[in-house]
Amino acid sequence: MLKIGVPSKGRLQELTFQWFGNHGVTMRQTGNDREYSGAVDGIDGVELVLLSAGEIPRELSAGRIHLGVTGTDLIRDKLADWDRQVTSLAPLGFGHADLIIAVPAVWIDVDTVDDLDAAASAFRAAHGFRLRIATKYHRLVRDFLTAQGVADYQLVDSQGATEGTIRNLTAEAVADITSSGETLRANHLKILSDALILQSQAELFLSRQADWDAATRSTLTDLLRRLSLPVPAL
């Protein structure tokens, strides 16, 4: 069986089902709408696995699913050497979000990464600890700031309501995904002009670790033909 992991609920699941539906592959949740079981119609040998979007990268990496739908941000943040573990088959055109760095709007002296670095230096001297940036995207943000040569900062973990950490005085800046920027503005924050860390959207990924036997390969070829996608080398 070719296992395909898709988000287990919400708007992301709805849009995923719609995208496959538009390509003649019908996905549906079976049982009642709280039961995490699903089915794929119109093609044999495909099993639907409903998972939290955040767990799909790990399942792809482990090879427990052959294909999976999740965000670019989650793949690149959670998987080291992501492009050797998974192959992106197609961007799906929804779930768009930018990973950015934001600071209080009243920081009139900070507009770029260069400013943030200088502010971090002065902040550490004044407060005795490194300037705190709240995020859940530790790898992406750290890699970005390392590449930019930023010093005197620390990442503090925030798994939700990240914009609130500044008001609560548990962080000075945030690195988070945003689509419209409304939550940032509502929390009196502004986006640094040159700190677009990643543009993310939902993508269909293929696991390079999964067991690709003759049967699953043939199912993959069949599925990708319906989706009008080229078959990658395995």
Binding site: P104, I108, D111, A119, Q148, A151
Partner: protein, 365 residues
């Protein structure tokens, strides 16, 4: 296949050689408090070291190197002068699939001595060169002290010098700052806009106009940096000839004696580097006296700037022919680190480590 026991035997041999050179063996914990390392190396170390948590002691790190615990032990209760050697595993998280080891043995040698730092530099290098002499490794050397002296000697504001010194170990940002201070890079658009607005209003008024105040960074801190930006915008660029010398120094790469001749040639134009250049000359004499041919010894003024270390003087490494292998040995001088960890006290210090696993592999063991 190189076995663990062969590597350990190799490590023991190197360890014995360091003891024979007068070093006292020291032990270090494997679990180190993460905070000390994070405050020293910054967040970057998280990408390289394994972080774990202790229910009572908080975040801990699996020893990524011996320098910090050895310096701490010395600053707490060391003799003066002192020579130490150590042997043990270090742990480095690898973010890429590949052959790089995430756990390997290091054997190290450190000298804490106020008397003759350049002689100590030469002795450490010569000892490493001798122990590795059968492997035909390519040595690399540098001297971060010359670069730091050049920055300190620039005719510009202390603020600009401090900004450059802070980023000596981050070449990309250093270069960006230097380009801006030298007038070679345009001022960012946002900065021009801000300076225009600051010309018409006080920082306090602009802060008030920017909306609801939030966060720990106080209005005074924001205003202080705004004032610094105004001051900086009125500062003349670093004079072109002086900037050219610094760019020249950053890319200086030559055999050590030729590099010395070159540095002596530019010293009259950049007199602040004179003491550092003379220290370099003294070190080369000491290296010659210790059997190192400085006519051929490679020198690179920027060597060691990306090593995630706080080397601030002599730096060296030994490389195998295979460029994909990490250095077989590396080390340098870290006087400033002893001041950071010494709570007010400091002592000149130089040392280095050898990876017995690589030595064994190169010997075909």
């Amino acid at each position: 296949m190189t076995t663990k026991s062969a590597i350990r035997a190799q490590a023991e041999t190197l360890f014995a050689a360091f003891r024979a050179a007068g070093a006292v063996p020291v032990d270090a914990d494997i679990l180190l408090p993460a905070e000390t390392l994070l405050d020293l190396y910054g967040e970057d170390i998280r990408a390289r070291a394994y972080v774990t948590s202790d229910p009572l002691r908080g975040e801990m790190m699996l020893r990524p190197d011996f320098t910090v615990p050895v310096v701490q032990a010395h600053m707490a209760h060391g003799a003066d002068p002192a020579r130490y050697c150590y042997m043990g595993e270090v742990f480095r998280k690898q973010d890429h699939l590949g052959p790089r080891a995430s756990e390997y043995l290091q054997v190290g040698f450190e000298v804490f001595d106020r008397a003759a730092p350049e002689l100590a530099d030469a002795q450490v290098f010569a000892l490493f060169a001798r122990l590795l002499s059968d492997l035909t490794l390519r040595p690399a050397t540098g001297d971060i002290g010359i670069l730091m002296a050049a920055v300190r000697g620039l005719s510009t504001t202390d603020r600009r010098k401090a900004a450059l010194l802070r980023h000596i170990w981050r070449p990309k940002r250093f270069r960006a700052l230097l380009d801006r201070f030298a007038g070679r890079a345009p001022m960012p658009e946002a900065r021009i806009t801000l300076l225009d607005r600051l010309a018409q209003d006080t920082p306090e008024a602009l802060i008030a106009a920017a909306g609801t105040f939030t966060g720990l960074r106080a209005p005074e801190e924001i205003a202080a940096r705004a004032a610094a930006l105004i001051e900086d915008s009125a500062t003349a660029p670093i004079a072109a000839p002086e900037a050219a010398l610094l760019y020249d120094l950053l890319s200086l790469e030559a055999p050590a004696q030729a590099a010395l001749t070159h540095l002596r040639g530019i010293t009259p134009l950049l007199p602040a580097i004179a003491p550092a250049v003379e220290r370099f000359a003294t070190r080369l004499e000491a290296l010659n006296a210790n059997g190192i041919d400085t006519m051929t010894l490679p020198f690179q003024a920027s060597h060691g700037r990306t090593s995630l270390e706080y080397y601030d003087g002599f730096v060296f490494s030994f490389h195998a022919a295979d460029p994909t292998l990490p250095p077989v040995a590396s080390g340098g001088r870290y006087d400033a680190l002893t001041a950071v960890l010494g709570q007010g006290r400091s002592i000149p210090a130089v040392g280095g480590v050898i990876r017995p696993g690589l030595v064994t592999a190169l010997r075909g063991g």
